[in-house]
C-alpha cells in the first residue's frame, strides 16, 4: 500500500477515532466551535476574546496567546463582549464525511476495509445519531457486557462475579480500542470496575443490600438469571457506592484513589505514543490515553458532584474531610485537560490530515520558516510536538533540518538525523504496511543532500549502504 494523503482507509480511521474518543455528538459540536473560532481568527489576535455556546455555563477564552476554558470571565471581558453562538445539536456533518470515506474504502480497498472492520465501525458510529440513539447505545453496551458472561466457572457467586468483572473490563477495552464503542459510554463502567478492584473486600461491596431505587440506579448491571440473581451481586455506578449509607467513609477513600493510577497510566500511554514511528500508532496511542484521562476526570467529577449533595453534607466533618476536595479538583482539571489535548490532536488530524502527516510539507515549511527566524521555527515545532500534534520523530527530523542550516550546528544536525534514521529503520516495514509516507527515505534524502553539499564520500557510502538495507 503506498501513501496517499487522501487514502480513504486512513482518513476513515482517523476520523472514527476523533468521533469515538468521547462521542460523535460532542465531536459534531466541537467541529462547529472550532469553525466559529477559525472564522473569527481569535487565536491570531493579541487581545482577549471569549466564545460561548449559547446557554453553556463555560466559555473558551483566547487571552494573549493562551487558550483556556473557564466558567469565570477574566478581567477585561464584560459579559456583553462574549461572542455567543448557536450549535446544531443534530448535526451529522462528520457522520456523512465518515460515510463517504467508508464508501470509498470499501470500493478501493475492499480487503483492507474488511480486515479493519470498517462497516462495523461505521455502524458503531451511526448508533450515536438519531432519536433512538440512547436505546441503541444501551443495547450495544449491554450486549457487549453480556458477551463477557461466558466461562465464569462453577465457583461461588462471588468468584463468578469477580471473573465477570475481569471479562467485562477486557471486552469493553477491546471494543473501545477497536472503535466499536465511544469513550463516554464506557468511562462510568471503568470507574465502577476500578472501585471494585480497589475495594479491600469487593465481594462485600458488590453484595451490599440494594436500595428501593434499585433498577433506576443500576447503570451497569447484567442481571441475567444465568449469571447473577436479582438479590445478590451487582456492579453499580460510582454514585451508588458513594451514597450508600453503610459504606460512607470507605467509599470516599476508595473513590478518591481511582484517578491517580489512570492519570499515571495515561501519561505512560502518551509517552509511548510520542515515541511511535507511525502516525497510525501515534493516534491509536492518543485515543487510548484519552480514555484513561477520561476515567480519571469522570471519577473526580462524580466525587465533586457528591460533595455538593445533601447526603455528603449530612456526614460528620471527619468523614467529609476524607474527600480531599483540593486534590480531587486538581486531578479533575489535569485529567480533563489531558483528555482534551489528546482529543484535539485527533480532531485536528481528522480535519486536516495533511498538516503533519505529510512530513515533506512540514519540512518545506520548516526550511522557509528557519530562514526567517530559526529560533521561532524551533519553538513552534517543539510546541507542536509538546501539544501532541505530531509524534516525536517528526519534531526530531524538523529540528535537525533547522540545525543543518546553521554552520555551527551542522554536525549536530547530521548526528540527530542519523539517530532518527537508526530509530526508524527497524520500523520501516510496519510504516509501509500502514500506508504511511516513506519518512525514512526522506531522512536519507536529507542526509544525501548534506553529503553532496559537503563532498563527504564516507557519508555518501553510509547512506548507500543504508538504502540497500531497505525493503
Amino acid at each position: 500500500m503506498t501513501y496517499d494523503g487522501e487514502n480513504p482507509v486512513r482518513r476513515f480511521l482517523t476520523l472514527a477515532r476523533a468521533l469515538l474518543v468521547r462521542n460523535p455528538r460532542e465531536a459534531e459540536i466541537a467541529r462547529q466551535t472550532h469553525e466559529v473560532g477559525l472564522a473569527l481568527r481569535v487565536g491570531h489576535r493579541d487581545e482577549v476574546h471569549a466564545l460561548r455556546i449559547r446557554g453553556a455555563p463555560w466559555c473558551i477564552v483566547f487571552d494573549r496567546g493562551t487558550k483556556y476554558t473557564t466558567s469565570e470571565l477574566p478581567p477585561g471581558i464584560a459579559p456583553a463582549d462574549v461572542h455567543e453562538f448557536e450549535v446544531d445539536r443534530d448535526s451529522e456533518v462528520l457522520l456523512h464525511r465518515l460515510e463517504s470515506f467508508a464508501e470509498r474504502a470499501v470500493v478501493e480497498q475492499p480487503e483492507l476495509a474488511a480486515e479493519l472492520q470498517i462497516p462495523r465501525i461505521l455502524d458503531a458510529v451511526r448508533m450515536y445519531y438519531g432519536p433512538d440513539s440512547d436505546s441503541q447505545v444501551t443495547g450495544a453496551f449491554l450486549s457487549l457486557a453480556s458477551g463477557a458472561a461466558g466461562n465464569l466457572g462453577d465457583g461461588p457467586p462471588e468468584r463468578r462475579f469477580s471473573v465477570w468483572v475481569g471479562n467485562v473490563s477486557k471486552v469493553m477495552s477491546e471494543a473501545y480500542d477497536s472503535l466499536l464503542i465511544a469513550g463516554s459510554t464506557v468511562w462510568p463502567l471503568f470507574a465502577s470496575i476500578t472501585y471494585c478492584r480497589l475495594s479491600p473486600d469487593p465481594d462485600v461491596t458488590s453484595a451490599l443490600p440494594r436500595r428501593p431505587d434499585f433498577p433506576n440506579r443500576l447503570l451497569l448491571a447484567i442481571a441475567q438469571d444465568a449469571v447473577f440473581d436479582n438479590d445478590s451481586l451487582c456492579l453499580y455506578d460510582l454514585d451508588w457506592y458513594l451514597e450508600h449509607p453503610l459504606i460512607a467513609p470507605e467509599a470516599l477513600i476508595i473513590a478518591r484513589r481511582i484517578a491517580p493510577p489512570y492519570l499515571r497510566n495515561g501519561d505512560a500511554t502518551i509517552a509511548a505514543a510520542r515515541a511511535a514511528s507511525t502516525f497510525m500508532e501515534f493516534q491509536a496511542g492518543l485515543h487510548a490515553a484519552a480514555f484513561k484521562f477520561s476515567v480519571a476526570a469522570y471519577s473526580c467529577d462524580r466525587l465533586l458532584a457528591f460533595a455538593d449533595s445533601p447526603v455528603f453534607l449530612s456526614h460528620p466533618p471527619d468523614v467529609r474531610e476524607l474527600l480531599q476536595h483540593d486534590v480531587i479538583h486538581a486531578n479533575r482539571l489535569l485529567g480533563e485537560e489531558k483528555r482534551v489535548i489528546c482529543a484535539a490532536s485527533l480532531f485536528s488530524a481528522a480535519a486536516d490530515p495533511l498538516d503533519f502527516e505529510s512530513i515533506a510539507l512540514v519540512l518545506t515549511w520548516i526550511e522557509s520558516a528557519a530562514e526567517a527566524d530559526a529560533r521561532e521555527a524551533e519553538l513552534r515545532i517543539r510546541d507542536d510536538e509538546f501539544a501532541l500534534r505530531m509524534p516525536r520523530f517528526v519534531r526530531d527530523v524538523a529540528l535537525a533540518v533547522i540545525e543543518l542550516k546553521d554552520v555551527s550546528r551542522r554536525q549536530l544536525g547530521l548526528r540527530h538525523l542519523w539517530e532518527v534514521a537508526g530509530r526508524m529503520e527497524p520500523e520501516v516495514t510496519k510504516a509501509l504496511t500502514l500506508g504511511e509516507p516513506a519518512y525514512l527515505l526522506l531522512v536519507y534524502s536529507f542526509l544525501q543532500r548534506a553529503a553532496d553539499e559537503d563532498d563527504d564520500l564516507v557519508a555518501g557510502a553510509r547512506i548507500a549502504e543504508a538504502f540497500s538495507r531497505l525493503p
Binding site: T70, D267, D383
Partner: protein, 160 residues
C-alpha cells in the same frame, strides 16, 4: 575540563520532563491548553532554583571544599528566579521574549559557577526545586515527583 552546559538545551529537556503537568500553574477555575512556552518558563524557574540549591550546598560545604565565596553568584541566580516568577504566564508573547532573555543571562551566569564532582548531590538542590514547584501551585506529591524527575536530567548534564 567540563563541557559547557547549554542552558537552552537543558531547559528544553526539563520542559519535556515536566510535560503536560505544567498546567498545574494555571488558576483553579481554568482548564488550560498548555504550550511549550509555559513549560519552558517553568523549566527556567526550576533551573535557577537548582543553581541556587547547588550554590547554597557549596557555601555550606565551602571551607572543606576550599571554594571561593559564591554569595555574589547566589544573589544573581536568586534575582533571576524572582524575575522568572514575576512573569505573567498568560501573556505568551511577552513570556517568550522574557524567557529567552533570562535564559541568555543564565547561560552567562552558569559559566561562572564552579563545577564540583560531588559524590552526593546537595540536598539544597532538591529543597529549592521542590519549593519552587510548590510555589507554582503544583500539588505536594506532584512537586516531589517532578523535582525528582527533573533533577535527574539537570544533574546528569551538570555533573556528567
Amino acid at each position: 575540563m567540563w563541557p559547557i552546559v547549554d542552558v537552552s538545551e537543558l531547559a528544553n529537556e526539563v520542559a519535556e520532563e515536566i510535560g503536560l503537568d505544567v498546567s498545574h500553574v494555571r488558576p483553579r477555575d481554568r482548564l488550560f491548553f498548555s504550550g511549550f512556552e509555559l513549560a519552558l518558563w517553568v523549566a527556567g524557574t526550576l533551573l535557577s532554583s537548582f543553581f541556587i540549591g547547588y550554590l547554597k550546598g557549596i557555601r555550606k560545604a565551602g571551607e572543606k571544599l576550599g571554594e571561593r565565596s559564591v554569595d555574589a553568584l547566589l544573589e544573581r541566580f536568586e534575582q533571576m528566579r524572582s524575575r522568572f516568577r514575576n512573569r505573567d504566564p498568560i501573556d505568551q508573547k511577552a513570556l517568550r521574549k522574557d524567557v529567552a532573555a533570562l535564559m541568555e543571562e543564565m547561560q552567562e551566569a552558569v559559566q561562572e559557577v564552579p563545577r564540583l564532582q560531588a559524590a552526593t548531590a546537595f540536598a539544597e538542590e532538591e529543597q529549592e526545586t521542590t519549593r519552587t514547584l510548590l510555589e507554582l501551585n503544583f500539588p505536594a506529591d506532584q512537586a516531589l515527583l517532578i523535582a525528582e524527575r527533573t533533577l535527574v536530567t539537570i544533574r546528569r548534564r551538570w555533573r556528567g
